[in-house]
Symmetry: C2
Subunit: 131 residues, 2 copies
DNA sequence: CTGCTACTTGAAGTGCGGTTCAAGTCAAGG
DNA sequence: CCTTGACTTGAACCGCACTTCAAGTAGCAG
């Protein structure tokens, strides 16, 4: 076997993902094993980078189906660019929303209103977050 | 019946939540009806504010169980303050992460690397996001 | 050879956040 | 009175992202 390939167990350790998750991702078409070491899946080293990207995108709120689509798309794909641009706007909006929420939480931590939900400043903040 | 109370259908319309979701929230202890109009749940107007808060927190990534806990806690509750402070840090971190992801997406939109995942700048960006 | 470990498979199970369904009930309108 | 429509209930179902399980297998040590 090509010893540049990495066993699933090792990929799991290095990526921090469970082996079951890797197999799950394979079924979803997100990654693929290059070969087998006996029964064991063997992956190319680049797979680790791919997994980092997947984890990153997943953490950002992409569904696995979306990620799979992104990974399949060609860079020349205009649709892909548009979708990425759309996602960029979405993420920007989310950043703004979370920033407002953070401010709201910051206030809440030191506010003494009882109940907290009645605090005018807090109510204002909540309205801003959901706006 | 107290005509300051609002029927579930009206609350659903005004909050933008499905009536089924409102009942679900009630089972989870997030809200409660003040009375009934026949069979119909009737809510106090403040419930709308409470729902805005719930929606806001849920959108921010709190689980419903967490939100329920927050809502039950007293403002004098030191644990609550600590938890909110912790959540504030969590949200701050998430804002930072999403900001990096946004930058990474911004680059990706205009980058011509094929495959995109091989672009050094993009790889850098992904590493920054997951760091 | 035996025993062990780390994997293999498909299928079922989990937790979250709900929605949908069937059967029933209430209040109002005609 | 009967119909209509918006609600009621518990239970079942949904999609997502996995995990867990049972039964089996490859490779290696002794």
């Amino acid at each position: 076997m090509d010893d540049t390939l990495i066993d699933i167990g090792e990929v799991a350790r290095q990526s921090g993902l469970a082996a079951s998750a890797l197999r799950f991702y394979e079924r979803k078409g997100l990654i693929q094993a290059e070969g087998r070491n006996g029964l064991r899946r063997a992956y190319r080293p680049e797979t680790l980078e791919r997994l980092a990207l997947i984890t990153c995108a997943r953490d950002a709120g992409f569904t696995l189906a979306e990620i799979a689509e992104f990974l399949r798309a060609k860079p020349s794909d205009a649709t892909l660019r548009e979708r990425m641009a759309a996602k960029e706007r979405e993420v920007s909006e989310r950043v703004a929303q979370l920033t407002r929420l953070r401010d709201s939480l910051r206030h809440a931590v030191t506010c003494d209103h009882d109940p907290l939900i009645e605090c005018p400043e807090f109510k204002q903040a909540v309205r801003r977050v959901s706006a």
